[in-house]
């Protein structure tokens, strides 16, 4: 079944919202509003999450893992190094002293947290990505776009919905 991509550009958030709502409520063959619809916007609209439905974010799990690993690794790498650094006594302090190691563990905790969070972000957001099939630079200016993927035959229906909601422009491309 050949697929077709459509990109509708809206000048106005409310129009886009209406279009999305309609798409979500309309059952179209070969179009699943959860999978096949992407909203592109120049700014972050918290409302998009609402009208697009509950989509999970996993980044925080990366954060948790990264921070814990960073802290653990920090402590053990440092303590291990101290214990094997010819076990030299310094300043009468224990060879594995807690206060400095905690400081460093703390830093490693944050370091691990930040690094892995960003890694998680890239993974979860699918970045770096190639250009999607249809894109308009207007999105990075002031317009909102809805990219949909659908069966060849349903394209018309979708187009109609977009037009109805005063899409400024509709791009079209044959999918792979």
């Amino acid at each position: 079944m050949s697929k077709r991509h459509l990109l509708a550009v809206f000048s106005n958030f409310h129009e886009a919202e209406a279009a999305v709502t309609e798409l979500r409520n309309t059952s179209i063959k070969g179009f699943d509003s959860n999978e096949d619809m992407i909203v592109k916007s120049p700014i972050e609209h918290p409302e998009v999450e609402e009208f697009l439905g509950d989509k999970p974010v996993y980044v925080q799990w990366f954060t948790l893992f990264g921070a814990l690993m960073g802290g653990l690794l920090g402590f053990f790498l440092i303590s291990g190094a101290q214990a094997n650094f010819y076990a030299q006594i310094k300043g009468g302090k224990p060879i594995v002293p807690f206060p400095p190691n905690f400081v460093l563990t703390y830093e490693m905790f944050i370091l691990g947290g930040v690094y892995i969070t960003v890694l998680g972000f890239l993974i979860c957001a699918g970045l770096p990505a190639k250009r999607s099939p249809l894109y308009t630079s207007k999105v990075s200016e002031d317009q909102i776009a809805i990219l949909v993927k659908t069966d060849e035959e349903s394209a018309g229906v979708l187009k109609a919905i977009f037009t109805k909601h005063e899409a400024l422009e509709i791009q079209e491309e044959a999918g792979k």
Partner: protein
């Protein structure tokens, strides 16, 4: 790196020193300096220059406080406000106190200065990167930094004079911190030679250059854990203990008959050098 090693020997790695009771064995090098016999003649300081390849920095550098005397003789005047110092001056030879809990050791970013098993505050010149944190943290200010490249660009030792340099000591280039080592080269040579014989060093077998030269024998150096050593006996007689931050002398009320003390003991670096108070005749 081994975490296994870390966990296996955990208790050992958590000892604090010197307050946890882990005595030095078989050596703990220490000193005592009798200020009643020290005359301030500076022979020790010159001997130190000779033994340890200390650069003579010259007038300009000295003026800028960049002198390299590992052993400096401080001269104090009595502070009683009299017109004349009629009890003389007081001389105090000051060098690295080889603290047991040395404030300089913890702060070195590269671990160039450590506490050795025989109780020295060691300095690995080649490891030093010159952050000078150790000196910043030394309460006695007995660490000396090579502000210039004395051997080369400063030409402190013109051609013939290089022949005097002691080959048993690393010659320090610019950017390296240095200090009194209790003549570690002599200690190491001594330790090695007796190891071959399967015994430990006896008192007097290793002398520091300053002790060796001192015309009044004001400096005693030796192994503090060796009960036969003079330094041990002196410490014992003065009831000065290495691991204590307040000695008998200061605990007793109203004039004790002891005169051994350690400088800046209250900061708890546990110095390895005991000073004996200067005595002045009371009858005159």
């Amino acid at each position: 790196m081994s975490v296994t090693n870390l966990l296996e020997n955990w208790a050992e790695f958590r000892h604090t020193h010197p307050v946890d009771d882990v005595p030095h064995d078989p050596y703990k090098w220490a000193m005592s300096i009798d200020m009643d016999t020290c005359t301030g003649c500076n022979a020790c300081s010159v001997a130190c220059y000779a033994e340890n390849n200390l650069p003579v920095v010259g007038k300009d550098r000295y003026e800028h406080g960049q002198a390299m005397h590992w052993m400096r003789i401080e001269r104090y005047w009595p502070e009683d406000g009299r017109e004349f110092p009629d009890q003389g001056a007081q001389f105090l030879p000051m060098m690295c106190q080889q603290c047991e809990a040395a404030p300089c050791e913890t702060v070195c970013p590269v671990g160039a200065t450590n506490h050795t098993a025989d109780g020295l505050n060691s300095q690995a010149y080649n490891r030093c990167i010159g952050s000078r944190y150790c000196s910043a943290n030394c309460p006695f200010k007995v660490r000396y930094f090579n502000w210039y490249d004395y051997p080369t660009t400063e030409n402190v030792w013109p051609a013939e004079m290089t022949m005097q340099l002691n080959p048993d000591i690393t010659l320090r280039g610019k950017g390296v911190m240095e200090k009194c080592t209790f003549c570690v080269q002599r200690i190491r040579a001594g330790e090695r030679s007796v190891k071959n014989e399967g015994r430990i060093l006896r008192d007097g077998e290793v002398q520091t250059a300053c002790q060796q030269v001192c015309p009044t024998n004001a400096i005693t150096f030796g192994n503090l854990v060796d009960p036969d050593s003079r330094v041990h006996q002196q410490w014992k007689a003065q009831r000065v203990e290495l691991t204590v931050d307040e000695q008998e002398k200061d605990k007793e009320e109203g004039g004790s008959d002891l005169r051994g003390y350690r400088i800046l003991e209250e900061l708890r670096p546990y110095p390895s050098v005991m000073y004996l108070e200067r005595v002045r005749e009371s009858a005159i």
